[in-house]
């Protein structure tokens, strides 16, 4: 199945009228719960014992609480292109296209104050999400959630399957 999928993505003819997207390998087997080591998570301020596995609505991954932010690392069945197609949905309080180490992505917020940020990365038939939001504190440190999410996504991206590998 995987071989067929790779062949299809590698040999498919580009859609007429649109520039073909750079080939991205199928990331549907990537385990986002273990893609960062415990040492790396600790360095980010994540409390390892707060790890909570997630499997709902086609989204699989893990979430943690830390200081100064909470972290979600997930793989979802909705592609980055599908997210981009509903960029104007009132569900999103912001939606910006970007890239992660050259890989197609986007970041979005869902809270009105836009303190949360989910960085999406193209994983072929799936999307990969790194989501950051400030953890609650009576004396909060300012957190740039999108900058943190992008930084973590840049750590993860080189570990994702590459086209042709």
């Amino acid at each position: 199945m995987v071989v067929l999928g790779l062949l299809a993505s590698g040999c498919g003819s580009p859609t007429s009228g649109r520039a073909p997207s750079p080939a991205v390998a199928d990331a549907s087997r990537v385990d986002m719960c273990t893609i960062l080591t415990d040492a790396e998570l600790s360095q980010l301020g994540i409390k390892l014992n707060t790890r909570k596995p997630v499997d709902e609505l086609g989204i699989v991954g893990c979430q943690w609480v830390g200081k100064p932010f909470t972290l979600r690392l997930e793989r979802g069945k909705e592609t980055v292109a599908a997210y981009q197609a509903r960029r104007h949905s009132p569900t999103f309080t912001s939606f910006v296209d970007n890239t992660v180490n050259g890989r197609t992505g986007a970041h979005l917020s869902v809270e009105r104050d836009r303190t949360d940020c989910a960085q999406l990365m193209d994983g072929g038939p799936v999307s990969l999400t790194v989501a950051v939001a400030p953890a609650f504190s009576l004396s909060p440190q300012p957190v740039d959630s999108c900058a943190e999410a992008l930084r973590i996504a840049q750590m993860i991206e080189p570990r994702l399957p590459k086209a042709g590998s």
């Binding site: 997630v54 569900t91 609650f136």
Partner: protein, 128 residues
């Protein structure tokens, strides 16, 4: 006003209670054995952490497509996002209550610690 917003308004009243407890601690009217105070504070810390987990889950549910790619689905998603924001605002109020309670318990524990320490020093000075 939605039921979630009503719950939020009620919680706003509850927020005042830790403030009066903190005033009692500051006035020396409330103190706790340090170990008990720390255990109580840790339970409140756990509640604060649990709510951070809930907020993360709400973010994920809001972000995902739940109701189909059509006009009705988009409308339902919009209503869901509004309800989710109200829910987050409400449970953030509860979180503030728990965080203030943790700080109050720790202050109450410190008060008796400081009293114990002062008494110990006084007795030592008497018997030296």
């Amino acid at each position: 006003m939605s039921s979630v917003e009503q719950a939020g308004a009620q919680l706003a009243g509850v927020v005042q209670q830790p403030a009066s407890l903190a005033a009692a601690v500051a006035a020396g009217e409330l103190w706790m054995e340090a170990g008990v105070a720390e255990r109580a504070a840790q339970r409140c810390d756990q509640a604060v952490e649990d709510i951070d987990q809930w907020v993360s889950s709400v973010h994920r549910l809001t972000q995902s497509r739940k109701f189909g790619a059509n006009e009705d689905g988009d409308e339902a998603a919009d209503r869901f996002a509004t309800a989710a924001q109200e829910y987050i605002n409400t449970i953030r109020n509860a979180q503030r209550v728990f965080a203030n309670m943790a700080a109050t318990y720790r202050a109450a524990g410190r008060t008796i610690n400081e009293t114990d320490s002062a008494s110990e020093q006084m007795f030592r000075s008497w018997f030296q």
